[in-house]
């Protein structure tokens, strides 16, 4: 069974159609990339899947169950977790506290949540920061905290919204390693990313959005040489010189 299936997804904001007839299927264990220029509708798609927005039309199935309009906290309990493009740490609290909030999704016991959170922190080589205030972390560490919190909810499918934006090249490589490691844990990953180097190295399959519409789909190298994709990113004249 497909872990996520989207059929004909629409999202309108007033008169603006932010997503137009988006369909895609993600199989368990995949790292699935979603790319596109700014304003293409990538985050809107994520927000529809994660229950922040109710879709204007279309169907979303998670593990075969229709999840249109399901609330975010219920989706989390079902095994769908996400990170935010603009990081949202609980800034006045410690890193451990932040991750424990995620861990409480699966337990009511504080000690159990703490054990789980420490395990996740260790897994991400983040345990030395456990007592740091989340608001004092560097941007790279905040992105890592987003992942740690999401991971603590024990997801089957993890939506990563630009977790590498703003990172230095060495940090990007590290993050790529982390994401590959997560797949090794059996977590399916759906990732939005702007950094092409990263998405090419990571993804098994890529979908390209442009003005809310899917313009290309396939293996990363296929997509990268697609004329429409180059046009969407760079404009018309570059296609001519490329051809």
């Amino acid at each position: 069974m497909n872990i996520l299936e989207i059929r004909g997804l629409h999202k309108d904001f007033g008169g603006l159609r932010a997503l137009n007839d988006l369909s895609l299927t993600i199989e368990p264990g995949q790292i699935f990339g979603l790319i596109g220029p700014n304003g293409a509708g990538k985050s809107t798609a994520f927000n529809c899947i994660a229950g922040v927005y109710a879709p204007s039309g279309g169907e979303i199935y998670f593990n075969g169950v229709r999840i249109n309009g399901e609330r975010p906290w219920n989706l989390c309990k079902r095994g769908l977790a996400r990170t935010f493009q603009i990081v949202k740490p609980f800034a006045t609290k410690s890193v451990l506290y932040n991750v424990m909030v995620g861990a409480f999704a699966r337990t009511n016991s504080r000690s159990e949540a703490e054990r789980k959170a420490l395990e996740v922190l260790e897994y991400l080589h983040f345990e030395k920061h456990r007592n740091s205030r989340a608001g004092n972390l560097t941007i790279a560490d905040r992105k890592r905290l987003e992942i740690a919190r999401a991971l603590a909810t024990e997801p089957q499918l993890l939506l990563l919204d630009e977790v590498m934006a703003g990172l230095r090249p060495s940090e990007v490589d590290e993050m790529v390693g982390v994401i590959q490691q997560l797949r090794g844990r059996g977590i399916t990953i759906f990732v939005i990313e702007h950094i092409m180097r990263a998405i090419m190295a990571l993804s098994d399959h890529v979908v390209v959005l442009h003005f809310g519409q899917k313009i290309a789909e396939g293996a990363p190298h296929q997509v990268a040489s697609d004329e429409r994709v180059i046009k969407a990113y760079l404009g018309d004249e570059y296609v001519i010189s490329a051809g």
């Binding site: 989390c76 949202k88 506290y97 909030v101 999704a105 949540a113 919190r149």
Partner: protein
């Protein structure tokens, strides 16, 4: 000597001090001031469950004090129900009202929520002031209700001296502090804090933010109403201005903000600091400059918000921790006193 044992002995010291104070202090005036201090510390701690942990700013908690005070008093005066039982009924009534207010208002952000709660509490006050009878219940409008101190005794929650009131409110305060401590370490506490700080992120992590806030609101309004009954039995006279006024709602928020909202010690520290200011300014300047204490509160609040936005509990906690570190670290068994 370990940190743990130092903390324990500090708690023990405070407990002994609080329990023994009435034995040493024979002045009824000072005892009265202390009782009100605990009363406000209790109210603010109850308020803190919503206003502190859930990250919203309710400014209408006097409504719950009023509901508690009026419910138990009416039940006692008209039906002879023991105020202890009336206290419980008032608490349940306030819980229902609290949920009713919370349902529509928790979707509001920041100042809008605060304004909505003010409007609600003021609505209740105006209603009580203008209604003499509500169905079978005598409310007496602005004249208020007087409880004749005829049948003294524990079962009627009425005493000729102040000491019993002192111990009752002390126990109530200790209980609500313990409850706050337990909640802050529980899943609910984590969820409230998370939802208060970053609601969107919290929801994505499985937190039903609105539900957590409603639970906190229900508990907070229940506990606040209990204090209303206490106040009614302590003063034996309630009227809308004393138990449902905006001043009361504001004073609770003042104490919380200055002491440090969202922390366990904050409300107690705030009450310790502000209540004496309020009482002594009333004793010494009451006839020349009435309302002086509110001006002082305002100035203190501005200063605290400027220099210690998380309240006075933060520097004081740091100071205390440093003290404990020193005791635990350098001086071994010497610190046993």
């Amino acid at each position: 000597m370990t940190r743990r044992s130092i903390n324990q002995s500090a708690c023990l010291l405070v407990a002994v001090l609080a329990l023994g104070l009435p034995l040493v202090m024979r002045s009824a005036t000072y005892l009265h001031i202390l009782i009100l201090l605990y009363f406000y510390a209790y109210l603010t701690t109850s308020w803190n469950l919503v206003g502190g942990f859930a990250g919203v700013l309710p400014l209408g908690h006097a409504a719950f004090v009023g509901i508690g005070a009026y419910t138990s008093t009416i039940l006692y005066l008209q039906y002879g129900v023991s105020p202890w039982l009336g206290m419980l009924v008032g608490g349940i009534l306030a819980t229902l009202v609290g949920i009713l207010i919370g349902l529509p208002t928790f979707k509001m952000r920041g100042a809008y929520f605060a304004l909505a709660t003010i409007a609600f509490a003021e609505g209740i006050r105006v209603m009580i002031e203008n209604i003499d009878r509500l169905g079978p219940f005598v409310i007496n409008g602005p004249r208020g209700l007087q409880i004749p101190p005829l049948k003294l005794g524990l079962s009627n929650f009425m005493f000729a001296v102040k000491e019993p009131y002192y111990y009752i409110i002390l126990i109530m305060l200790a209980a609500v502090l313990l409850l706050t401590y337990c909640i802050s370490r529980s899943k609910l506490g984590y969820y409230l804090n998370a939802g208060g700080e970053e609601p969107e992120a919290a929801m994505a992590l499985g937190v039903n933010v609105a539900r957590a806030k409603l639970i906190a609101m229900a508990m907070s309004s229940f506990l606040t109403a209990l204090a209303g009954t206490f106040y009614a039995q302590f003063t034996l006279y309630i009227h809308p201005k004393s138990v449902v006024s905006l001043d009361l709602s504001f004073e609770i928020a003042f104490i919380a903000l200055i002491g440090g909202r969202g922390s366990i010690a904050g409300p107690v520290l705030g009450a310790l600091l502000l209540r004496p200011v309020s009482d002594f300014s009333r004793i010494y300047f009451g006839d020349t400059v009435p309302g002086l204490h509110l001006i002082i509160f305002g100035v203190v609040l501005i200063l605290v918000m400027l220099y210690q936005p998380r309240g006075l509990q933060e520097p004081l906690t740091r100071l205390y921790n440093r003290l404990v570190d020193r005791l635990a670290g350098t001086e071994g068994g010497e610190a046993s006193a």
